[in-house]
Amino acid sequence: MKNNVRSRREKMGLTQGELGKLTGVSRQAINAIETGKYDPSIWLAYALSKAFKCSIEEIFIFEGGEE
């Protein structure tokens, strides 16, 4: 699953740690999501969408989602 967390975070001028604090997770978790090593839970995806003020689909690109 691809995502644009990094570009959205940078656009907002936030560090990974600051975004982590906003969403209630660690800096490492944000880094792992940005590098595509970890797919977040629906709760964290929702928290990220709230932080970025957009929908989950705008942040995460579900590959093979049309199957």
Partner: protein, 135 residues
Amino acid sequence: MIKQNKLRKAYLIYWTVLSELYGITMLLSVPFVRNELLQIILKISSLAAIFIVPIFTYAIYKWKSRDNASTSDELEQNVLQKSSATTGLTALSLIPFLILFAFRLSEFAGYFVLGYAVIVGGVFKLGTFYYYKKY
């Protein structure tokens, strides 16, 4: 905002108590070891575990809390789940060998149990380290 938890503090207490129990158990087993060199090694390592592990565990806890939120987040839970699964699989796979060797060579049963504990504990620690590094 995801709900905060106190799991990290709970882990700190759990690991400290468990390590102390390991150390005390090893110390209590020392008089029953026949080899003198092994007695000394066991005594030193158990005393070291009793005194050093709590300090070491607390230092890791403080280090993690400084960099991360004080809560244990889902990535950390994911890492712990994976390392626990790896440890469980290793522990279960080694049990037949433990039983066989403990009965077949019963005079060394204590050493086999100690070796088993070291392997299982080591797999958990290395697994946790590996998965943390992976993410």
